[in-house]
Amino acid sequence: MEQTKSIMIVGVGGQGTLLTSRILGGITTQAGYDVKLSEVHGMAQRGGSVVTFVRYGKEVAEPIVEEGCADVLIAFERLEALRYAHFLKKDGVIIVNDQRIDPMTVVTGAAEYPEQIIENLSKEYQVVAVDAMAEAKKLGNAKVFNTIIIGVAAKRMNFTKEEWLQVIEKTVPPKTVEINKAAFEAGYAGA
């Protein structure tokens, strides 16, 4: 039996982790897997640290990913990659958007933003860092940075590019299909 795969999507509330989880949910369901995703709604969405769990396989019981069990960590922000890195398996992969968003504790001076996050994480894990925000701006819409990240992640998962594009088309708002497809392609090609 194929092992259940565990993916985590982490970021800052408002960055669009929910859309990413819908796309991952769509692609895994379409492929006939049993899938469970667990999301955070409500107050934590207001600029707080947010985490989404995705698990798929033949039969999935618990909807959460536990520490030391994640195959892939998709981080929309550097500090959040560091915060959740210990959820990864020994050879886990981190795909990180190379962006810094200061938490209020840093803004008020109560804490310092850690230096060299990507360098340090690379010592223990396979890290793929992408400046997706810059790429997205090149495409003309900073908001689609998360679809670029999906493109990067897709390169490391067992679904075809066409399958991904189909799901993106079905999931994103109709007006944004083209730009999201372009963003996915950019991430997929760059990865």
Binding site: V12, E62, T108
Partner: protein, 580 residues
């Protein structure tokens, strides 16, 4: 083959209601229940509304049920408290069309003020409870709830938790049933709950629960899974998934109906297994009943009453496994904050400068309690800000509250703040109430309410005028101020807290995240004029950061152009420019 779709637990509940032929749904938004109504509204066959609060929603559903159709009210756990008055008594009256209340608990406190267990409320109200364990069951049990409601003539609670409500899983879709409306017959002995009638109905309630408890042992919704019998686990809901993950070989009694319990089935299961555990999040409701029957069972002596469970937690507690995980990195916390452009931040920065204490309420603005704003001193429940400020004044006198205000959002004010304000007028308070009117129910993700002019269905409707409403309650001093006009707001607050009469300040500006509220400008910092004083950083806007040289930078993708930082700057080092 039935169509399969991946669905959020809440979406599946909505689908279940649709398939069960529900005709009326009422709710007040509250995490983690909000998406039930947001999905129900997609089915034109169902009348769906946002009611001003959960008590109203419950009563709307009761009325619909009595008239003969299937009806549902959904709410978060603390909403069940608000709705408990009708809930306790409709339990006596029973139903006509099936009546279901969805109660969404929040173990782990992701977005709530407490961690209460709604099963306990249902038990005291003598209302049966179904608890699904995944999205498929969320749909199936919702349908079953309507059937059981009609069969046993009782309202049924479907209890979920955040983890279920906000997890997605695969669901097989079915067609909608169209049950014929039940005939309405006048029956005051059953539906008029005055003492003489209620006495008789209480007897019926006891008999009903007893019958259901007997039947429960043969209900398919409760099932035994015999594997290795050295360990037996009684569980339900999401914890079932953790049990399956951690103890795949253990025997399990999975309860779908968690109240009343199937005693015969549990006794038989207990007799066949070695060590018996009860795994349930929050209160030991199942455990205590099982133990009261003389069955030896292990529960809360090794499992916590707080928070969510996990498979690893069970591995440690039951199997005594040592789970070695890496230490989490020591990183700065990232608690939730008010968004860039949030009008509440503007109001809080004014109150902070005036050193005003805030009796707070439930909404995004509860975040005004934390640094750097530090305005809110108290938060208990919906509507409490106003009544608590009144209580403080009556305890300590008028002078005591001269540096206090009550702070409440527009949706929360309409939920349960109106009565409290009426009380302030009636009982001659001198307090000041600030209604933070952002034209929406913000924290739960922008739901309409009675003052927005739009229904849940999206249709235009009459909008309650908050100013007129306050006047009608007898408040003589009502001022409406733009929340971003910090100067006028400061003057108004000083004037009103000094006044020896009840006053209301309506601080207006739409939520920055509302789709209709697209900013045409953004703020830019001018480093050559910046004196590095840090005043613009004080309101704690996440779009502004201090750079290494002490000057500030405004993130162009985050900035909403609200201009609050500009009003703080004495050196004209921040300007607004048109959005690119």
């Amino acid at each position: 083959m039935a169509e399969k779709k991946i669905m959020l637990g809440n979406e599946a509940i909505a689908r279940g209601a649709y398939e069960a032929g529900v005709k009326v749904s009422a709710a007040y938004p509250g995490t983690p229940s909000t998406e039930i109504s947001e999905n129900i509204v997609k089915y034109p066959e169902i009348y769906a509304e946002w009611s001003p609060n959960e008590k109203v929603a419950m009563e709307v559903a009761i009325g619909a049920s009595f008239s003969g159709v299937r009806a549902m009210a959904s709410m978060k756990h603390v909403g069940v408290n608000v709705a408990s008055d009708p809930l306790y008594s409709v339990s006596y009256a029973g139903v006509n069309g099936g009546l279901v209340i969805v109660a969404a608990d929040d173990p782990g406190l992701y977005s709530s003020q407490n961690e209460q267990d709604s099963r306990c409320v249902a038990r005291v109200a003598q209302v049966p409870v179904l608890e699904p364990a995944d999205s498929q069951e969320a749909k199936d049990y919702t349908k079953l709830a309507f059937a059981l409601s009609e069969e046993y003539d009782t309202p049924i609670m479907v209890r979920t938790t955040t983890r279920l409500a906000h997890s997605q899983g695969v669901v097989a879709l079915e067609e909608r049933e169209e049950p014929a409306d039940k005939k309405y017959e006048r029956n005051p002995a059953k539906r008029v709950m005055m003492p003489g009638n209620a006495k008789g109905r209480h007897v019926v309630v006891e008999q009903r629960l007893k019958k259901m408890a007997e039947d429960a042992s043969s209900m398919a919704v409760n099932r035994t899974e015999y594997r290795d019998t050295s360990i037996g686990v009684i569980t339900s809901g999401i914890p079932y998934q953790y049990v399956r993950e951690a103890l795949p070989d253990a025997s399990v009694l999975k309860l779908g109906l968690v109240h009343p319990l199937p005693r015969k089935m549990i006794e038989e299961f207990a007799s066949k297994v070695g060590t018996l555990y009860v795994v349930e999040e929050l209160e030991p409701l199942i455990e205590e009943q099982v133990r009261s029957w003389g069955i030896k069972v292990i529960g809360k002596e090794i499992f916590t009453i707080q928070g969510e469970y996990s498979a690893n937690m069970l591995r440690k507690a039951i199997l005594k496994q040592e789970i070695v995980t890496k230490e989490p990195a020591k990183v700065p916390a990232r608690p939730p904050i008010l968004c860039p452009g949030c009008p509440h931040r503007s109001v809080f920065s004014v109150l902070n400068q005036l050193k005003i204490h805030g009796a707070g309420d439930i909404g995004c603005y509860t975040l005004g309690a934390v640094p750097p704003l530090n305005v809110i001193d108290t938060t208990i429940c919906m509507g409490a800000s106003i009544s608590m400020l009144h209580g403080m004044e009556k305890a300590k006198g008028k002078e005591y509250i001269k540096d206090w205000v009550a702070l409440i959002g527009d949706s929360t004010f309409l939920h349960t703040g109106v009565n409290s304000l009426m009380n302030m007028v009636y009982n001659q308070s001198s307090g000041t109430v600030i209604i933070l009117d952002n034209s929406t129910t913000g924290m739960t993700g922008h739901q309409d309410h009675a003052a927005t002019g739009r229904t849940l269905k999206g249709d235009p409707t009459f909008a309650v005028d908050l100013e007129e409403l306050c006047h009608a309650l007898g408040v003589q001093h009502v001022k409406v101020v733009n929340a971003f006009d910090t100067k006028l707001l400061a003057e108004t607050v000083k004037e009103e807290v000094a006044r020896d009469a009840v006053s209301v300040i309506i601080a207006q500006a739409p939520c920055a995240l509302l789709k209709s509220n697209v900013s045409k400008v953004k703020c830019v910092a001018l480093p050559e004029k910046c004196k590095k004083c840090g005043m613009c950083l004080k309101p704690g806007c996440p779009a502004i950061t201090k750079q290494a040289d002490g000057t500030v930078k405004i993130d162009e993708t985050m900035c909403n152009g609200c201009g609050l930082c500009k009003t703080q700057c004495k050196f004209e080092a921040i300007e607004t420019v048109p959005m690119a």
